[in-house]
Symmetry: C2
């Protein structure tokens, strides 16, 4: 998997950090956090925190004690060991878009279906730049509502052999994910030893954790499955309109959720989550790929490292309706800072369009190209005497060219990044080959990739057991 | 003008720097640089350097002595003082695309004309993100060949009141630029006191400076006009296929050109130039917005600072044929690193398409949007107690929203970046307003901007004198 051994881009001074530190402490102490869960309130009460109705006012030092119990880094296992993922340190893991109810393919925008879900799973399996198809790659609207989490988990488990995210719609859904993971990985002990899932627990920002997500968190943390505690911050709506105020809220929310996981099971793997952008103050619409979101990214990385926690943020975010120039520059405006910040778990790395409402086949391929480029860009240069290629200079001298130099001929196949999607064809050649823009070429690549997809091998008995579980549970759920 | 007070992103260790340092010294000493100019060879000979035919083998310490005579920072004056530019330090100045023979507008790609040149000048004047229209914004193919430099200079001087670049096709052309600048700024002394032009002197890489560019350099440096000494490096063709080998060549070339300027006139203002990307090793086509070019950018900034020189690099480069997703992500892949590297003079900041063969109206607007976003992104956050907006948190509490908070209402007009081009409209609204992609919206913005353009005021006598000069010189040149 990709390790980012380039320097981190850090913008917060020690003074700024100290101000932020006072800020989140004050929020936890004076305003507190709402937990819509009796179990959570009980745990905090027993731990001596100030519980008032559903509001918990937390002692910041108690929170830090809990945070210190979380692992700084951890593994998530895939059914193909070669695809195991390490979360933390200089490792960066990438998952596809998560959550869109709609799909765009070419000019058609429509409700997403289970077939789309499967197709995106196949795409995620096919591109080595992705460590995971993610979780809800798109909402399979044609699958029965109460049991579609089974369909999604089954698709992720069978069509890919990479890590996957667990369902978080409710505690029972989380239990199903865990049960199916036990089947796939050979029992509870196998997944408790090394987590087999990584699941997204969103805060209902500001400062409130809702019951269903908390129920899922209880299941996952109790089973030692990783959770990503993510403040959901569109500045202006879920947080104040200044970045520092939003950062302290983000810290307060993320740490309060992480503290809960540690009360559920000390040492349970957690990720400091961030989903931070802003709304358009005229229309109220969410904006992505903004300067504010990039600044938030730089700061979040530095903050998470300060707490010794792996962190999640970034992706190829955009507000654009089409896989056009805006989609591309906004995605790059988020993804390049994601690498500069050294995010450990990058959701929404491929396919995100229209503020996350749409999973787009063409954008998926565009984002894969961005990831491929950035993975090369953030690989340290080796600079030693040999790399200076003095012999090449001596051979070519002044005013010549290096096309035929021995140094060139030895390296020409691998010396530069070779694009998946980008074209450097000249005008005549580009016209001759159809004058297609990047979106049209991306469409062709996505179709070709799906046509060439081969499912990763899976033991028939395990597949049968998974199917049986899905059938049985679907019946129980009345779908 | 924009000052980049954010941290620089530096990737070269001291050890790496030491290796590079040995490398460029060895190239200058053992391979040398070709200067196709008797005047240049004379200057080097008199300064005690080893001149063999047209090849000068340079003592690296002598070169550094010359480099030390160059100013670390300097001003370039505009005819509107408010548009004066400071080159160096944390200042970043941005000019439009330079050199394209073709123009693209919508689906039409055609030879560029003088009208296009004037239109791009107007666009550059209209957007405050640009400090300059640059120089050869596009090649005015319908203007007489031998005198079109007069038309271009006149357009830059009259349609904009920003700084401009001088013509470098020949010594006489440079003299014309200087003469016209004397008219505009009130005499030779006025432009010698503070340079009124900044001109691009390209190296014929590897390691060769050609006669016509050198003649122009002689004119400009003698008149204390700034020159940008720029190795032209498409790795694989003009330099070896490894980045370190290219970096040492770049240093050798840039410093040799800078040394010449200092021999022509000690203290003459110079800029360490960089134009560094790679070719596609299969087709030989130049590639832009590549990972390699971004790495080159990071390194070049660090290297130029080490020599105490302002530097030029970056821009919105792309190989794409259309203002599509590829054009946008490649431009961002170059521009964001340009800010991270803190480039002082950024050519090709707006309008570049098709590897620099095309000036594109839509891409111009797309690039302006990128510049606007990045100028906000690279403005330091103020983090103090007040910025934490604790009152807003106290007002909203847990589970509410900030849309109506007092803190929000006081700031909602200015709190976030407001886009020029990007749309965050939801699907229904976007469909209702024409379902236009970013390129279509950019076309409309460029047309509206041209329609609303107002020429900056210019003294009638000066305008008449400039016109008279153009007419007289055109006659002398036989056009």
């Amino acid at each position: 998997m990709f390790r980012n051994q380039m320097p981190r881009y850090e913008v917060l001074s020690d003074d700024a950090m100290a101000v932020l530190d006072r800020g989140w402490r004050r929020i936890l102490t004076e305003i507190g956090v709402e937990f819509v869960s009796e179990r959570a309130l009980d745990l905090f009460r027993k731990a001596g925190q100030d519980v008032d109705g559903q509001t918990v006012r937390l002692d910041p030092d108690f929170v830090l004690e809990q945070v210190a119990k979380a692992p700084r880094e951890f593994d998530v296992q895939a059914r193909n060991q070669a695809n195991d993922v390490h979360i933390g340190g200089d490792h960066m893991a990438f998952g596809a878009v998560y959550g869109p109810p709609f799909v765009r393919q070419g000019e058609v925008r429509r409700d997403a279906t289970l077939d789309d879900f499967r197709n995106f799973s196949r795409l995620a399996q096919s591109f080595p730049e992705l460590d995971s198809a993610g979780g809800v790659i798109c909402e399979p609207n044609d699958a029965p509502l109460d049991s579609r989490h089974l369909d999604m988990t089954y698709a992720l488990q069978t069509l890919t052999d990479k890590i996957y995210m667990g369902n978080v719609v409710s505690g029972p859904n989380a239990r199903d994910t865990i049960a199916m993971s036990e089947i796939l990985f050979g029992g509870r002990e196998a997944i408790e030893r090394t987590p087999a899932t990584l699941s997204l627990i969103n805060c209902n920002s500001p400062l409130r954790w809702d019951d269903r997500m908390l129920d899922a968190q209880f299941e996952y943390s109790a089973a030692n499955q990783a959770v990503v505690l993510t403040p959901f911050l569109l500045m202006g709506a879920m947080s104040p309109v200044t970045i520092p105020a939003t950062l302290v809220q983000q810290i307060a929310e993320a740490l309060s959720g992480i503290a809960l996981s540690q009360l559920i099971r000390p040492g349970a793997p957690v990720v400091f989550g961030s989903f931070l952008s802003n709304i358009d103050m005229q229309s109220g619409a969410p904006c992505f790929g903004t300067p504010e979101s990039a600044i938030g990214l730089f700061c979040t990385g530095q903050i998470a490292r300060r707490f010794g926690l792996p962190f999640r943020t970034g992706g190829g975010l955009t507000s654009s309706q089409m896989p056009d120039a805006q989609a591309a520059y906004e995605a790059m405006m988020t993804l390049l800072p994601t690498f500069l910040a050294g995010a450990n778990w990058v959701m929404h790395s491929a396919g995100w369009l229209e503020g996350g409402l749409v999973a787009c086949y063409e954008k998926f391929v565009i984002d894969i190209e961005l990831l491929r480029m950035l993975q090369v860009e953030f690989t340290p240069l080796e600079i030693d005497e040999a790399s200076l290629a003095f012999d090449a200079h001596a051979e070519v001298g002044r005013g010549g060219h290096f096309l035929g130099a021995a140094h060139t001929l030895e390296r020409f196949r691998t010396c530069f990044y070779r694009p998946l999607l980008s074209s450097s064809a000249n005008y005549e050649r580009w016209m001759r080959t159809g004058a297609r823009d990047a979106a049209a070429r991306a469409a062709e690549i996505s179709q070709r990739t799906l046509a060439e997809y081969e499912p990763p091998p899976l033991d028939d008995a395990i597949r049968a057991e998974l199917e049986e579980y899905v059938v049985k549970r679907r019946a129980e759920l009345g779908d």
